[in-house]
Symmetry: C2
Subunit: 135 residues, 2 copies
DNA sequence: AGGAAAAGTGAGAATGATTATCATTATTAG
DNA sequence: CTAATAATGATAATCATTCTCACTTTTCCT
């Protein structure tokens, strides 16, 4: 089990981390950059990318896949699942644990030939606002 | 249930579809472009992108997320699950059905507030070759 | 404290996947 | 057969991300 040591964060990294932790959506690097500018007007975009990468590597945050707007980050590092709107692309947290039987996971990992680390369930469907508009 | 009518495919679209169906990995648009060139040397990259988009919209193939190399496509449109190597990024099919209890799915969809369409389980871990190299 | 080495920073250039544009060519409809 | 329509492909534009590099800040040693 490779646990990467969490180094102490400098103030820039801490500012970025605070933004990600406070966000309830799953912000992109650009959104984080915009948000961090209000508290650190001097920080450059490249630094935000660099810091996000480091934070993810050290386990402070998680990279949670990409969509047409770019890579998205999640301050919730506990295992949890997501719902994706098939109409507008919204990426939502599922606030309950989706229980997948452990033996089903193990069997699947064996069948795929991978050494299982973690897993995630993704639900696809219409988010509330898209569902309302009936499509 | 919105089913998009599958229009008849012209020969270019058919050529692209054949490539995607024959691929056992999950090729990117560029890989598909390279492969289709051998049978249609004249086809342009923009056409490949356009055709892939149409094929996905009509349900012939599926867009299956992005990674650092771009969007990946899957000729297998039946519901199935994937494994992602956390070291090399490989995206593998899981050749068995990962059974998630229907009530767990429904409860999760309700909790997230979405109208459930489909779902996918993603396993994260080390693929065979990365596992071998012990990291 | 003093100063050299290391790490971090930010502005802007470079990269690379995807999309838009548009003149040209194929297809369809009447 | 001809007009309208759709598809095509070359190229340019877009946009997220990464790279580069000169400069600043921090760390570390004595």
């Amino acid at each position: 089990m490779e646990t990467i040591a969490k180094t102490k964060l400098n103030s820039n990294a801490q500012a970025v981390l605070n933004i990600v932790l406070a966000a309830h959506n799953h912000p992109t690097a650009l959104e984080i950059y915009e948000a961090v500018k209000s508290v650190r007007p001097h920080m450059g975009l490249a630094s935000v990318y660099r810091i996000l990468h480091n934070l993810a590597e050290q386990g402070y945050i998680r990279e949670i896949g990409r969509d047409e707007e770019g890579n998205r980050y999640d301050g919730n590092t506990a295992r949890h699942d997501h719902a994706v709107c098939t109409n507008c692309g919204a990426l939502l947290d599922i606030p309950v644990e989706v229980k997948v039987p452990a033996d089903a996971l193990e069997q699947a990992a064996r069948a795929a030939g991978i050494e299982l680390g973690s897993y995630e369930v993704r639900l696809y469907g219409l988010c509330p606002s898209c569902s309302m508009r009936t499509i």
